[in-house]
């Protein structure tokens, strides 16, 4: 009898491995997750089981990194992969390339809820944390992909609304493995660079999986610690991202984010015009108050004051038109001489003031009586009006 062929253990395992790999194509397997472990190497090991059987499974680092979260024990999933034999142990296993929760985005949804609950418990979504955006940001920071439509949209809007703005972009990948770390780092670097007054963080629309980076905790934390206010601008209509919840302001698209971040040029023009008018009116009021203050304060003599409102405003405008053109030509050294200029303005002379219905109380020597002390009951004085004087006597006074 010839000697039987003797195989080494390695030869057997190798033959079985090749048999498995060559004869059974990649397949989907449904089962319950058990014993999930993520090794230091990044590889994940677990068991898929049903009532009567189990299969050892491995998911290597690259594939495992695309998972939004580790599946929970007992969770029913379907795993896609190929069968092989781990020769060192003689155990056959499924090398998993993809795991899906039963239900399309279940695993993502679950991870989302977990992160949301954790950050919410920390108070990161609190309304009190929200900072107001600067009204007129000089520099706007943008964290997004340099090649995406989002950047184009943001720049288009800012160019249209607020072309005086400076935009500083920090380009980053916005999806795929490692995208969240890149986005978080871009927020950190640009946000604390001291360059920007407000930060727009976002990307165009996509599936929940595409948008995942904006649901990651590290992005949320970067937004929360950003020293300048953050506008989240992730393109999506129905869903909200974690980034939206943490951001100071949430915009539904990158374009909308840009609209929120910068004011409209016309609004600024209007603000300027209003300031100009106000300054002029206030200065004129100050000037007139200096000249007429006491007369006005004496009261009683000026019952017709309300009727004066309109012409008086016109006079103010004329005065300030002139003031503006005068100050425009003055150096700051010449400014001190401006009161002299003012004195030459006919409209401000005491006589023209009288023409508008005011009157000056004077004593016999022509001195202007400025206060109650000079007008005790029984005091005689003359009231100078625009076309003459009227003799008067104080009946009573209060001050």
């Amino acid at each position: 009898m010839p000697e039987p062929k003797v195989w080494s253990v390695s030869q057997v395992n190798r033959a079985v491995r090749l048999l498995l790999e060559d004869t059974i194509e990649s397949l989907w397997v449904s089962g319950e997750i058990a014993n999930w472990t993520r090794a230091r190497s990044g590889h994940c090991y677990f068991t898929l089981k049903d009532e009567g059987a189990q299969i050892r499974c491995a998911m290597f680092k690259t594939e495992a990194a695309t998972l939004p979260a580790d599946p929970e024990p007992g969770m029913t999933v379907r795993a896609f992969g190929g069968l092989t034999l781990y020769q060192a142990k003689g155990e056959y296993q499924l090398v998993v390339r993809r795991i899906e929760d039963e239900g399309a985005e279940g695993l993502w949804r679950r991870a989302f809820e977990r992160i949301r609950a954790a950050l919410e418990a920390e108070g990161l979504f609190e309304q009190e944390r929200k900072r107001p955006l600067p009204r007129f940001p000089g520099t706007v920071g943008v964290v997004t992909s340099l090649s995406g439509a989002a950047l184009h949209d943001v720049l288009t809007v800012i160019r249209r609304r607020a072309p005086w703005t400076r935009v500083v972009v920090r380009g980053t990948r916005v999806q795929g493995e490692g995208a969240s770390a890149e986005v978080a780092s871009a927020i950190d670097v640009l946000g604390s660079s001291g360059l920007v007054d407000v930060l727009i963080v976002g990307r165009g629309g996509g599936s929940l999986e595409d948008l995942w980076a904006f649901n990651e905790e590290e992005v949320a934390r970067a937004i929360a610690r950003c020293p300048v206010p953050v506008v989240s601008a992730v393109g999506h209509e129905v869903d909200v991202t974690i980034a939206d919840l943490v951001a100071d302001v949430r915009a539904p698209t990158p374009s909308a984010g840009a609209e929120t971040a910068v004011p409209d040029g016309e609004t600024v023009q209007e603000t300027l015009a209003v300031s100009r008018v106000r300054m002029r009116a206030l200065l004129a009021a100050t000037v007139l108050r200096r000249r007429e203050g006491l007369e006005v304060a004496n009261g009683g003599l000026f019952r017709a004051a309300s009727g004066l409102a309109r012409p008086r405003r016109e006079i103010l405008e004329r005065v300030t038109d002139r003031l503006e053109s005068v100050t425009r030509r003055l150096s700051s050294l010449q400014r001190a001489r401006l009161s002299e200029v003012l004195n030459k303005m006919h409209v401000l002379s005491p006589l023209s003031t009288l023409g508008r219905g005011y009157a000056l109380p004077q004593d016999a020597s022509g001195r202007i009586l400025r206060g109650v002390a000079e007008l005790s009951p029984g005091t005689g004085f003359s009231l100078r009006v625009s076309d003459g004087t009227v003799p008067c006597e104080a009946l009573d006074s209060s001050g």
């Binding site: 600067p134 009204r135 007129f136 940001p137 000089g138 920071g141 340099l146 090649s147 184009h152 720049l155 800012i158 160019r159 607020a162 072309p163 005086w164 703005t165 400076r166 935009v167 500083v168 972009v169 920090r170 380009g171 950190d188 670097v189 640009l190 604390s192 660079s193 360059l195 007054d197 040029g265 600024v268 023009q269 603000t271 300027l272 300031s275 100009r276 106000r278 300054m279 002029r280 206030l282 200065l283 100050t286 000037v287 108050r289 200096r290 003031l323 503006e324 100050t327 425009r328 003055l330 700051s332 400014r335 001190a336 401006l338 009161s339």
Partner: protein
Amino acid sequence: MTTEAEVHEPIGDDAQSLEARLQRLEEIVRSLETSDLELERALALFEEGVGHARSAEQILKNAELRVEELLGTAEDPVIEPLEEDPE
């Protein structure tokens, strides 16, 4: 208590951002609103304010969006003009 602004020297056109000018303008208006302002001081504030308003209008008129890219690290940042994709 009034929030009276210090009078600043009028400044050159590009020395300050639009934001700073608009903020300063608001301060000036607020100060002018305080009724006990000296005439001299009111004039100075007014003059400064008019300067800011004119410079701000100038900034709006001549504005052209500046787009830059922040490269490098937080410790060693590099800012370069960003070439936009033509469309």
